[in-house]
Assembly symmetry: C2
Homo-oligomer: 388 residues x 2
């Protein structure tokens, strides 16, 4: 918890406005995170993954600092532009796009697109015609599959294709007059292994060589996201990632290191946000001595903590009683939904003195919380966000 | 798909307004479902579980037809009252309540509350004092645990306590001047076994007897929800559930059958709703002959299909090509989130001729879709609902 967040929450409480969970996000932390990425990877352009937290204040700050933006939809493109980014600093990074959304993006000036198959290339070709844009001005990069070993949240095979296929996809783009620009991959969310980029960079290098043999000069590698934020476990610093990535680039590309991009989301805003929530109930399921306590909070899976799914993300939960004796608990949310349980397979230690009405503070909650919240499940409003 | 839904969707398309997924809900189906519950369980009061679909049109129809309402929050209580239900027809069925929300509910006239532990009883006692209400007018029922065998979505241990403990919870309510009214349980969502109520009713009967020995006359059993809607698999009709429940009641309570309540949610609105969505992309991950197709829709886990979590609910997905040859697919949503995959462990058969831009129709989507949708994840708007 930063001093600025602590002061804000104190003032809120003094005003008696502390009902309902709230996420408070400290822009100074975002500023520091951006600077760290810029320092750790000085030759790499930063494309902030808007989906992690699209708060206008965050986007404006990052636009001012020179960040570019990775977007998932036309709505996110519009948010990035509204925050002051020029269109040449925005990529449409979703490999799953409606053709009419590609047309809209082109009309908004976007020229950088992700693809992972030939039919997606064809959509872009048709959209270019519809939008009346010069094909050669449009850059596409092909996403490849990556195993995600070492990540807290390894990605499924949803995005990307096998490297061998990527060569054909890029050739297809090239033959259709597009600028076959490069390769992207994602090493898995909350990636704790700084060496995780090595294998994917080997594949990228192979694709560069194969494309060169076919007369296509690729120039860019999009290194994706995966940079972790600190939850309960310590994670390596951004510099370690920068060093390891630079070593891997040199190893696989020698002295012809390509242009690079990173797409941090969680790593940019995760540790900037803190959720203040409240204990609604502490109870047991039977009167047996050794029965585990259930601690119910006024926030759960549907109120912003969706990433506790399968207990993947283990947030640090702080209380005013953390000096007291701890005992393992099941932690659950407030809805009438039985899957709205945060930690049950692995019990969560909380103070034995924790009681109904106590506040708790959930750290590292700046990313993937507010936008994941359900519209109004059980009548509960979505998570409120305050940016300071 | 009902004729009314078909006509509506055709008109929408003719107007060129068919962009983006939409859920269309036919009130005539809800009307028929309510009548079926009333016929199948003629001596049971129906408390519609508002969380399944709180559309004002649904609540108004059910209020007119004489339904009562099971609510999870003060907001849902207010919706039920706004729809025309009187306060005596509304229960606050969430066992996890903030004390100030209990006060608010009491002030709105609510007198029926769920609990599953002594501290929750104590909250109600304090709230009664704060609200200036007569304790004896306030009815509480204690929820007990139930194993949920036979349910597509067996509930966790989140709600309820062991039956032995329930006796003490009810006695605690009684000693504090409340009306210890009865027992509730939930046999698990989408329960396919009509006999599933038997075991829980045995426990309920034991609690009635034990309370009677302590001088407390319970009068109500809340049989909960669990009544299924038809997805891909056929499910028994409501009458079969009515018959089986009546047999189990007679078996365990003899000729002293208590007052009963049911809380259908999915069973009331599930089959009334249909989602129209669009195929955004059909692709493969490699060029191998036997590679499985990935079909990406413009709706996914974060756009309303949250119940595909762990592939629990397998929706019927219809297309205009269902006469063609089928082949197994992975089905995924449109967001840049790798967990936004609907069916992957168990491939879903879809027509080989299904292509980008085709419409698909997802049946049984009237319950737990619109309210589960995320606020704006990836910039995508929440699922639109049209009630006809």
């Amino acid at each position: 918890m930063t001093d600025r967040i602590r002061d804000y929450l104190r003032a809120r409480r003094d005003l008696g406005r502390d009902e309902g969970p709230v996420m408070v996000l400290d822009l100074e932390v975002v500023r520091e995170n951006f600077s760290q990425f810029a320092r750790a990877l000085p030759d790499t352009r930063v494309f902030y993954a808007v989906k992690a937290n699209p708060a206008p204040e965050v986007l404006r700050l990052l636009a001012e600092m020179g960040s570019c933006f990775d977007t998932a939809s036309v709505a996110e493109i519009e948010m990035a532009l509204a925050a002051g980014a020029t269109a040449d600093r925005v990529s449409f990074g979703n490999t799953i796009k409606k053709e009419r959304d590609v047309v809209r993006a082109l009309k908004l000036g976007i020229r950088l697109f992700a693809v992972d198959c030939q039919v997606e290339v064809e959509k872009i070709v048709r959209a270019i015609e519809a939008a009346g844009v010069e094909a050669a001005d449009v850059q596409v990069f092909c996403r490849i599959l990556c195993d995600g070993a070492g990540a807290d949240w390894p990605l499924s095979r949803k995005f990307g294709c096998e490297p061998e296929m990527a060569v054909n996809v890029l050739e297809h783009a090239h033959r259709n007059g597009l600028n076959a620009y490069g390769v992207s991959f994602h090493v898995g969310s909350q990636q704790a292994n700084t060496e995780a980029w090595d294998g994917a960079l080997a594949s990228a290098s192979m694709i560069f060589q194969e494309c060169a043999l076919r007369g296509i000069g690729l120039s860019m590698v999009n290194l994706g996201g995966g940079f972790p934020t600190k939850y309960l476990k310590a994670v390596p610093g951004v510099e370690s990632y920068g060093d390891a990535i630079f070593r891997a680039l040199t190893k696989h590309f020698g002295n012809r290191i390509p242009e690079t991009i990173i797409e941090p989301g969680r790593g940019m805003v995760g540790n900037a946000g803190l959720i203040e929530a409240e204990v609604v109930l502490v109870s047991k399921k039977s009167e047996a001595e050794d029965e585990v306590r259930w601690v119910y909070l006024d926030i759960g899976k549907f109120g912003g903590l969706a990433e506790t799914m399968d207990e993947s993300i283990r947030y640090a939960i702080r209380t005013d009683h953390d000096e007291d004796r701890m005992s393992p608990c099941v932690v659950a949310g407030p809805t009438c939904d039985s899957v709205d349980v945060l930690y049950e397979k692995n019990h969560y230690p909380l103070p034995v003195s924790l009681s109904i009405g106590d506040k708790v503070w959930i750290e590292g909650a700046g990313a993937y919380t507010t936008t994941y919240a359900a519209v109004a499940f059980n009548g509960f409003p979505p998570l409120e966000q305050i940016v300071i």
